[in-house]
Amino acid sequence: MSEPVTFLSRAEALIGTPEAEAVERGVKKFADRRDVAVAEFPMMDELRDRSRAIRLHALRNLDRLLAHFADQVHSQGGVVHWAGDAAEANDIVVSILRGTEAHLVVKSKSMVSEEIEVNDRLHDEGIKVVETDLGEFIVQLAGDTPSHIIAPVLHKTRQEIGELFARRLGAAYSEDPFELNRIAREHLRETFLRADAGISGVNLAVAETGSLVLVTNEGNGRLITTAPRVHIALMGMERIVSRWQDAAVVLETLARSATGQRHASYTNVITGPRRSDDPDGPEELHVVIIDNGRADILSGSTAEILACIRCGACLNVCPVFRTAGGHAYGSVYSGPMGAIVTPGLHGMDPWWELPYASTLCGACEEVCPVRIQIPRMLLELRRQAAAEGRLPGWLEKGMSRYAKTASDPRRWARAKRWASRLSAPVATRGWISRLPGPGRGWTASRDLPKPAKESFNDWWRANRGT
């Protein structure tokens, strides 16, 4: 029997800290903007239905779409690599960079790159990687990890970032966002021009033309995929749609759900490397299609989570995420979506507790642009965890006893009377302020009503029973 402590202990260390407060402020802003953007767009509900159908269709036809996509990339002059796991993906990236004598790499934001920890591997190989997304740049400079899939430094205050830039970049302290942006841009500009290779993620891959769609708000994605000689795109294998008309629908829901924008500032479409008549672009384009546990998810009861388009809307409305922040989850993917993705990719051990980090309030599903049935899958994973015997003993034994009692009218009646009598000495004016055992957590911050002297059932039998 293992104790469900890891999420909880991380969360407890974060609750009430300036980090958690910054997260709460940040996600509320996102959620509010999302609400406005959705409210002004009457088609949104219909597009959510269509997005869902499109993504589920892609998952059902994944093998065929990926094969077609790979053919199209190839015919456009790009190279497709297939990686079974993180180590393979990293080997591929290293061998591409070695083969092209690339020593300096610029990156745009990519969750799958965080998932496979490519930066660590490149560092070990002596290849320098510079994050160019402002948030990721700050994360890298601070030696931190992202706390939100679309806003990696949501957990940091402007003051912290100002201090970090002063300390690490020798800049004059400022907490003005525009000035901080300028400092980062100035620092990065030369790196963009000197870089040998760019590594990006992929928001959507379009099978019919072998195109990659990259969505950013800073334009860094465009720079790192055009200026360096080599572009490596890292792509989770589920990140595909069949046709352009499908991509258009998904993109229409993505930015509104993520940041409340109608569209992201930059939507890049990359189809093959530089052609002879192109003014710029990389000489080589490599697409690394990464499984790393996705095939396992696809064949299980949480397959639907692969339809996720990584907008982060479910994080922003989740009361648990809002309270503790992304770092509490201990995984690259956090919030309700991450609580399903993480055990799927990396196994139930030790991630089985993440599906329990939810009140099952359903706010996540209510905002999901793909209408993913998140609570249903949290419950699926809980069932799996329970079947694997991972629940604490008190819960398993207690629930077994409760089920026997509450389903047997005589026992149930006795239990209620017994609970009322037993609680009488510890109650004041009908409330209990301190419980032993597992109940201690409840009464640490809340009183509990004392079980009534006469249950409704007893009252009915005495007064209304026939």
Binding site: F7, T359, G362, S407, D408, R446
Partner: protein, 240 residues
């Protein structure tokens, strides 16, 4: 004249911790013209087990609930969106492929949450009363999102002095056993809710689910707050 026959399913929490809500529900239904029966063999709908993933235990309780309700006639009225949603939405999956599947569908289709039943089905004239109260309404998650119950309480509360509650549709952090398994996280979420309640200026918090209300009331009481918390059924009687 015989009124509309309904069955009262009070839920385990109301039965054991808040019997006055059961009596108020009974009273409201009778005042709305119903002939109310209470199947005395009822227990718990099984949601606590279902939500932690203990399927067999959930089936034991859900099975008993189905047997008790299936032998009765008329709408089954539940003063809880959460327990009603358990029966209407989750029983079918819980028993899918078993011999109880049809029974789950049959009973599920008869189950109605109290405010839904009073407003949508009966179009009742009953209105809540409460002298000098300023009321904040907390929407419970499962009633809101599983059953789509949103405006029904507004109608029942229309004669009262209402105050807006920020985050009224956000979770109070209870989450059933979540509040016991992860009490510190649950408390932090609750604190946000309690802050919003206190800021609203309400003298009374009303809701339709005793589980969330016990959570909010227990938290307010620990804070030493004088704000009252009541189930909507208890305001529907004469004189509130």
């Amino acid at each position: 004249m015989e009124g509309l026959q309904v069955q009262l399913f009070v839920t385990c929490l109301v039965d054991a911790l808040a019997p006055e809500v059961g009596r108020a529900t009974l009273d409201a239904l009778e005042r709305a013209g119903c002939s109310v029966a209470f199947p005395v063999e009822q227990g718990c709908c099984g949601q606590p087990a279902f939500n932690v993933g203990l399927v067999e235990e959930a089936r034991v309780m859900a099975g008993q609930t189905l047997d008790v309700l299936d032998s009765t006639e008329g709408a089954v009225v539940v003063p809880s969106g959460s327990c009603a949603a358990m029966i209407t939405h989750h029983y079918i999956g819980l028993f899918s492929g078993t011999k109880r599947e049809q029974q789950a569908k049959r009973v599920g289709s008869r189950v109605r949450e109290l405010t839904q039943f009073l407003v949508d089905d009966l179009d009742t004239d009953l209105r809540a009363s409460c002298n000098g109260c300023s009321v904040a309404y907390h929407h419970s998650c499962h009633g809101l999102r599983d059953l789509g119950i949103r405006g029904q309480a507004d109608r029942l509360l229309e004669d009262l002095d209402r105050v807006p509650l920020a985050g009224a549709e956000e979770c109070c952090g209870f989450g059933g056993l979540f509040s016991v398994e992860m009490p510190s996280v649950s408390t932090a979420i609750m604190d946000t809710k309690l802050d919003q309640v206190e800021v609203s200026g309400a003298s009374l918090v009303v809701g339709g689910d005793i589980s969330c209300l016990i959570h909010i009331a227990g938290g307010l009481r620990r804070r030493g707050s004088g704000i009252e918390v009541r189930h909507i059924a208890t305001l529907l009687g004469e004189g509130g």
